[in-house]
């Protein structure tokens, strides 16, 4: 059963010429079912009623993904270059991207899934980036997974 939570924050990817800012929304595992949500095939939980340990862990996942994507290393640099070079083009990346993430009990990212970016290399790079590290804490055992994270990319010159 998939579920949703939402948290949002903004971060900026620093590039030499073009700054890429992205909004990331965390869509959380949900618990209580609402009729509207059930019609859409998802169970939604009121974020204000979610355990704080869930929201804290989700914030940490958000921070780690931000850190990994903005890291100054080859794969992350290549992925950001792809975003800046292809954004807005017909075959470019979508304006928003939902990433589903499964976390292991030791804090590592077991796997992620997302709609294709229409570029196999970019798909592989993003998957590598988001599964390469440890979140730093164990996910709350009772927290439903996957976490659904929606990225909204905004390009700024």
């Amino acid at each position: 059963m998939s579920a949703v939570f939402t948290v949002s924050s903004a971060f900026r990817l620093r590039l030499p010429v073009i700054a890429v800012s992205a909004l990331m929304f965390l869509l959380w595992p949900l618990f209580a079912t609402t009729p509207a949500a059930a019609q859409g095939g998802l169970d939604y939980r009121d974020p204000s009623k979610a355990p704080p340990s869930w929201s804290q862990f989700a914030k940490l996942v958000q921070y780690r993904f931000e850190t990994w994507i903005t890291a100054d290393e080859a794969v992350a640099n290549r992925f950001r270059n792809y975003l800046t070079n292809q954004a807005g083009k017909e075959d470019g990346p979508p304006s928003t991207l939902t990433v589903r993430a499964w976390l292991n009990p030791d804090g590592t990212v077991e796997r992620v899934s997302f709609a294709t970016l229409k570029d196999a290399g970019a798909d592989a790079d993003l998957r590598t980036i988001l599964t390469r590290g440890n979140i730093g804490e164990a996910p709350p055992p009772e927290m439903l997974q996957p976490l659904n994270l929606r990225f909204s990319l905004n390009l700024k010159r």
Partner: protein
């Protein structure tokens, strides 16, 4: 005699030349390292006042990332300081909204530099215990039995819920440590218009490592002095 836990190191070569930032001091005579932790999503951090007083420059380091920071405010009454980094690296701490910790409550506190070895060994639930206060002279403080040593000044004292119950200040005896209490820390933050989080609900799952949460909210702060 009270003792702080900031190692003081004199670099082998004190004659350094700044290549990119002329305003920075040409000579760093001393540096001292301590611990600070984030208290909001804007990069504000709480630490011990004695850790950041009289610094020419402050540097915050966490997980390989190093940024400059500045002192925002020093508490005139307690060993507290508010500093600001460009952004929050990790999580912001959450303080208890209710009453203070009770004697014999188990706590966790450690210098930032000690946390990696604790987390890689599977984490740690607690390494300190609340002890009775010694009277009016310790008002506003939380006394704990704790093995913290150098570099722990300014470290958060975490309870079983992952809430910050104090800020490590100084040693008053063998394994007896005083931390500024959460109430005083919150008042200091409020007095400086910092919007911090407070909650009495657990911020970590039961049985989760408090060492890992400490690592998520903390960083090393280095004070460079002429």
């Amino acid at each position: 005699m009270a003792q702080s836990w900031m190692p003081v190191r004199v670099p082998e070569s004190t004659a350094t030349r700044s290549l990119a930032r002329p305003p920075e001091p040409a000579t760093i005579a001393r540096e001292k390292s301590s611990t600070a932790f984030f208290v909001d999503d804007a990069g504000h951090m709480l630490t011990a006042r004695h850790a950041v007083e009289d610094c020419t420059r402050l540097v915050v380091a966490k997980e390989g990332r190093v940024v400059s920071a500045r002192t925002v405010a020093l508490s005139p009454r307690f060993d507290l300081a508010l500093i600001k980094a460009p952004k929050t690296m990790g999580l912001a701490a959450v303080f208890p909204s209710g009453g203070a910790a009770a004697v014999n409550d188990m706590m966790f506190a450690a210098a930032y530099d000690k946390l990696p070895q604790m987390t890689t060994r599977g984490g740690m639930l607690a390494n300190a215990r609340v002890t009775p206060s010694r009277g009016e002279s310790e008002a506003g403080h939380l006394a704990i039995d704790s093995p913290v040593t150098f570099g722990a000044s300014g470290a958060p004292v975490l309870d079983s819920r992952g809430l910050v119950e104090g800020v490590i200040s100084r040693r008053t005896g063998v394994d007896r440590v005083l931390a500024v209490g959460a109430g005083e820390a919150k008042a200091f933050l409020s007095g400086n218009s910092i919007r911090f989080a407070q909650d009495d609900r657990p911020q970590i799952a039961g049985g989760s490592s408090r060492a890992n949460r400490a690592a998520s909210i903390s960083a090393r702060v280095t004070c460079l002095q002429n």
